[in-house]
């Protein structure tokens, strides 16, 4: 299957300094492919090259070297742009237009008829929870509302590939929950979602694959479960009604019980322990099981590990 996004050796140098401009490499030889229909997380600390990559894919900036294709067409191709959606980081629109007018304007650029534009604008504003404020001028919108308008305009053309730059930025917990649900809904409909973020829990919850960039270079990429360092660390068993005898038996096996709330204890088992046997022992001693969960290395730990490695390698190269 041809990749939805195909990037090869993409490099971008910016000129910095006023009197004697010198090149600053914001992105260094990025190569990656995104499969159609996957939710791909593009992660990295601030200044890692995430936004530069998105700008190169949207042709907001031109590459110094390398190439990129979207849906088999070169970046910037008008036909490809008809099939993509883009939410910039901290989007900003025209103060004096209403959300409805903005979406209708953008719809006209896709060549939709006026009735189609109206229908799309109405459906999407309802979808992002702005149906009641559709005729309000955008300068009166809050940051979170502008972010929602940004999402609506990105979905205007039912894109096959959706680029989201920090989509959760400016949203409250409810807004973030809505966007997560929306991304999963789009994934189920077969939309390819490429989103950049430094909020790792979002990537962990949504992405089938992630890439981590640091210092303009790709640090690691792959399925989270297969990623180096993403391994089973142990098990967490939560129980209630844990008696003193049972706690002592567990301690003798090297398992410590930590009180987490009134009458509730969390037990951390090593990765080679069999949680079933512990659970049956506890049940026999009168304790009740609340939950059993595997403990993985968090994405945050992988992230810190790879970012530190890439940053030190880059410093060494300099």
């Amino acid at each position: 299957m041809a990749p939805a996004i195909d990037i090869e050796g993409l490099t971008k140098d910016y000129k910095v300094g006023f009197w004697r401009p010198r090149p600053y490499r914001a992105l260094d030889g990025l190569t990656l492919q995104v499969t159609p229909g996957e939710v791909f997380g593009f992660l990295g600390p601030n200044g890692a090259g995430k936004t530069t990559t998105l700008k190169l894919l949207l042709q907001l900036v031109f590459p110094t070297a390398g190439r990129a294709e979207i849906l088999g067409r070169p970046v910037g191709d008008l036909e490809a742009r008809r099939r993509i959606g883009y939410l910039p980081e901290n989007p900003y629109f025209y103060d004096n237009l209403s959300a409805e007018e903005l979406l209708q304007y953008f719809g006209s650029l896709f060549g939709y008829s006026s009735s189609d534009r109206r229908a799309r604008a109405s459906r999407l504003l309802d979808r992002v929870g702005l149906g009641a404020e559709r005729r309000m001028q955008l300068r009166k919108y809050s940051k979170g509302m502008i972010q929602r308008v940004g999402i609506a305009q990105a979905l205007l053309n039912d894109p096959e590939v959706l680029f989201l730059d920090e989509p959760m930025s400016g949203l409250d917990p409810l807004g973030r929950r809505d966007i997560r649900a929306l991304i999963l809904e789009l994934r189920d409909r077969g939309t390819t979602v490429f989103f950049s973020s430094h909020i790792l829990s979002d990537a962990e919850a949504l992405c089938s694959r992630v890439a981590i960039v640091a210092g303009g270079r790709l640090a690691t990429m792959g399925r989270l479960a297969e990623m180096a360092g993403y391994e089973l660390r142990g098990w967490e068993v939560v129980v209630t009604g844990l008696g003193a005898d049972a706690a002592a038996r567990l301690a003798a096996r090297g398992i410590r019980a930590t009180a987490v709330s009134e009458g509730r204890y969390a037990l951390e088992l090593p990765k080679d322990a069999r949680p079933e046997s512990v659970v049956s022992d506890l049940a026999a001693s009168g304790a009740s099981l609340v939950s059993v969960a595997p403990l993985h290395t968090t994405l945050e730990e992988i992230f810190v590990q790879h970012v530190a490695k890439t940053s030190s390698a880059r410093q060494g190269a300099l």
């Binding site: 910016y14 700008k55 949207l58 042709q59 907001l60 900036v61 031109f62 008008l78 036909e79 742009r81 008809r82 993509i84 959606g85 883009y86 939410l87 910039p88 901290n90 989007p91 900003y92 629109f93 025209y94 103060d95 004096n96 237009l97 007018e101 304007y105 953008f106 006209s108 650029l109 896709f110 060549g111 001028q137 940004g150 305009q153 990105a154 680029f163």
Partner: protein
Amino acid sequence: MSLRTIQHIALAVFRESVRDRVLYNLVGFALLVIGTSYLIGQISAGEDVKIIKDLGLAAMSIFGVFIAIFIGIGLVSKEVERRSIYSLIAKPVRRSELVAGKFAGLVLTIAINLAVMAAVWYGVLGLMALVEPESFKKAWEAPATDPRMLIAVYLIFVQLAVVVALATFFSTFAGPMLSAVFTFALYVAGHFSADLKHFDVVVGNSPVRYITGALYYLLPNMAMFDVKNAVVHGQPVPFGYVITATLYGATFSLALIVASVWIFSRRDFK
């Protein structure tokens, strides 16, 4: 380039511009000046209609330039600065269509505003024609609501289109403040460009002659669009002159828009 896309962008610019508070303030102030010219006319016996004509045309020209500059610089540079251009560029739009659409949208805004100002101005002059005694009217060089004055209004419009093209050109590579300063500086310098042509008579130095000669052709000749004195005094403005000034304005604007497209199409939006 798709004319339909340009039309959609132009209409959006128009819709956004006509709701701009800056525009309301400028047009409001211009209408106030035109309105109060009636009162000024009252205290200058015999010269009243001429004063209203002079002040009205000057107000249309000056406030039109302010509208062209303050809203014109927002077309591209503010859009880049505020990053609203990001979502727009991701749509199936060529950068050339974007520049052309923005220019066309502001020219449309200017045309409508100029029409409103001219209508109010003619209204004030019509009122004068009604209330002034016949003995006063005999001293007038031309009728109060002389339709030939529309030629001056039309040439102000052509001049403002050149100012919009200048603002668009500068805003493709400079920030809003610098764009405003550059545009206004060229607008002012353009009124004296005819003097540069005859600079060689004053200065014998040949490098200076070449530089002033080059500047004469580079700077927009804004004085070419100024026929206010002629129409106020009821003097005819030849049709050929109007055509020449229109072609000059159109060519100058087109050259600036082509240069704007060239720069804008190569620009990185950091």
